[in-house]
């Protein structure tokens, strides 16, 4: 059963092999279609994707359309939503809508960069450790385990506190380099089982170099797994960034949703009833991360026939 399950990926035929005859591919089409068929009918996946894409468009296009600066003091302080200021102003007269749009943008940036970086490091470590085994595995595994038991947040706080100027990029780098260990362990265990399959031996007998075996033979067999790993890391990076921002260790020269929350709390927006200052960023973070996790559950159902609701 498991072998047949893993076939259902549309990306497969593309990178297959240059020497292959351009074979009639009704089967491949049907199979790729299978995944798409279940993907489009999965309410969790489609719903999550719509929310994430809508927020992404808002974050990318929004600041271009609504060109107010998120940090300048533009209007009367403490304006409630409506009228000139669509989402009101802060205690200092900053435009909340501009802050929200820029915050969304940096949230996606941190997620993509931090999550992407963590995915790359985690996969590299996991693949190499799982495939090479022996001493390489021992060393990499030890490194992974050490990083795994280090209280990441505490380290992030210390590092962030040392840097005087922090941008969104730097924050994403920190998060990326500290959140990869569980991904590495997951990838390693999958690689261990795949590497003992005969087709890997056959590739070795064909003189295929190690990196090619990993990227062309092992990785395609777990591509759904890798994709879901990336989504989880993305969500994790967004949350970690929001946490850092909220405790005041966010970007010093930019805007983020966590920073909005941090400012709102520092200037007692809750007590003063400035709800339009802290509700949008809170909802934004919840929506992005929640939608990503719901998407992940949906993807799980698409890739794993046993979980499909039928």
């Amino acid at each position: 059963m498991s072998q047949a399950d893993q076939i259902s990926l549309p990306a497969e035929s593309g990178g297959a092999a240059p020497g292959q005859p351009a074979a009639p591919a009704p089967v491949a089409a049907r199979r790729g279609g299978d995944t798409l068929y279940f993907a489009l009918r999965n309410k969790k996946l489609v719903g999550g994707l719509i929310v994430v894409l809508a927020l992404l468009v808002l974050g990318v296009v929004g600041p271009l359309v609504h060109t107010n600066s998120p940090t300048e003091y533009l209007g009367t302080p403490g304006q409630s939503p409506g009228g000139e200021w669509l989402m009101g102003t802060t205690m200092f007269g900053q435009d909340v809508l501009a802050q929200f749009l820029h915050g969304l943008r940096s949230t996606f940036l941190v997620g993509a960069l931090g999550g992407g970086l963590a995915a790359i490091v985690g996969m590299a470590v996991g693949f190499v450790a799982g495939y090479r085994g022996g001493l390489v595995d021992e060393v990499l595994n030890m490194l992974t385990n050490i990083l795994l038991v280090i209280p990441t947040l505490a380290v992030l706080i210390i590092i962030a506190a040392y840097l005087k100027v922090r941008g969104v990029m730097v924050e994403a780098l920190f998060i990326g380099f500290t959140s990869w260990p569980w991904a590495a362990r997951a990838v390693r265990s999958q690689t261990l089982t795949l590497a003992s399959r005969d087709f890997v031996d056959l590739a070795r007998l064909s003189g295929v170099p190690t990196w090619k075996i990993i990227t062309r033979d092992i990785a395609p067999n777990m591509s759904s797994y890798l994709f879901m790993t990336f989504i989880l890391l993305f969500g994790g990076a967004v949350l970690a960034a929001a946490t850092l921002d909220f405790i005041g260790l966010g970007p010093t020269d930019g805007m983020s949703l966590g920073l909005m929350l941090n400012n709102a709390v520092r200037w007692s927006a809750l007590q003063l009833g400035l709800w339009w200052w802290f509700v949008p960023p809170g909802l934004g973070i919840t929506a992005v991360v929640g939608a990503l996790y719901v998407m992940n559950v949906g993807l799980d159902e698409v890739f794993n026939p046993r979980l499909r609701e039928m």
Binding site: Q3, A4, Q6, I7, L9, E12, S13, A16, A17, P18, G19, Q20, P21, A23, P24, V27, R197, D198, F199, D201, L202, A203, R204, L205, S206, G207, V208, D217, P220, N221
Partner: protein
């Protein structure tokens, strides 16, 4: 051509790798040009491990394997690749030899990419067709399909065709017929006979005595990682001298008679590591006393 010089393989076992388990113990034999040698043994006797050591898929703990006089353990990178140009293997389970997410002909594409990158596409397609026809398959039926759309016999023969693309000198055939039904098995065996005629050396690893008898010139009987009896097939099968071989031969079901539960059977001999003694010319038996 291929020589094994008293090779051994130890596996580390136990929680901290403290204990060792010897899977193969001091095994020496040769495979000559155009010679089919069958390696017979029960499950766990180390026969597949020997095949994997010859193919450099497992390391050799002690001793060495030489091919045309050169120690194969020294091969790295390009040299190892050249070694695989001469020596190839076909494994027991054809279904797991194919990456399930790709088409079955990807095994040919890998060979082209690594060994014949400059061969034009049309010429290569002809070469593949010739190799597929050589293993008695219809290219139109099997090319461009996914592994699960082909039968075990077809997949197994495609793997042999893959090995043939390289113009090899030695084929390590590890239980290649155990997953096949009787009629396809005969096809594959006949194919091996053809290959032998072409001058290809074959190490035929099997647990099936009658198959070994059918294809090979020389037979090696393995028990718990050591050789118990070795020699020309007609001598080993016609005049088995080691008690284990006698017991093994007696255990083969015969087509024309029912299994007699109450009949006297030779007992399983006690196990001991004994040196090989030449009982008659070319016929070696472990611990033989004339």
């Amino acid at each position: 051509m291929l020589s094994l010089h008293s090779i051994s393989k130890d596996y580390r076992t136990g929680a901290f790798g403290g204990a060792t388990m010897t899977a193969v113990r001091d095994v020496s034999f040769d495979v000559g040009v155009g010679e089919v040698v069958s390696l017979i043994g029960e499950s766990g006797s180390g026969k597949s491990t020997i095949g994997r050591m010859i193919l450099r898929l497992a390391s050799v703990t002690r001793g060495k394997v030489t091919f045309d006089g050169a120690d194969i353990s020294a091969y790295r990178g390009p040299a190892l690749k050249e070694y695989y140009r001469d020596v190839q293997g076909v494994f027991q389970d054809p279904f797991s030899c194919y990456n399930p997410v790709f088409r079955a002909d990807r095994v040919f594409a890998m060979i082209k990419e690594e060994y014949f990158p400059r061969v034009p596409r049309e010429e290569w397609a002809e070469k593949i067709e010739a190799a597929v026809e050589a293993v008695r398959l219809n290219p139109g039926e099997v090319l461009g399909k996914y592994p699960h759309q082909l039968s075990g016999g077809q997949l197994q023969r495609l793997l042999i065709a893959r090995a043939l693309l390289l113009d090899i000198k030695l084929l390590v055939a590890d239980e290649i017929t155990s997953m096949l039904d009787a009629s396809t098995r005969i096809d594959v065996l006949n194919l091996l006979a053809d290959l032998k005629a072409r001058g290809l050396g074959v190490l035929f690893i099997t647990h099936d005595l009658s198959l070994g008898n059918y294809v090979s010139e020389r037979t090696i009987v393995l028990r718990r990682g050591s050789i118990v009896e070795m020699g020309p097939t007609n001598l080993v099968f016609g005049n088995p001298l080691h008690p284990y071989t006698i017991k093994l031969l007696d255990s083969v079901p015969r087509l024309h008679e029912k299994w007699d539960v109450d009949a006297e059977r030779p007992a399983e001999p006690a196990w001991a590591v004994e040196p090989l003694v030449e009982a008659e010319p070319g016929h070696f038996v472990a611990g033989y006393a004339a």
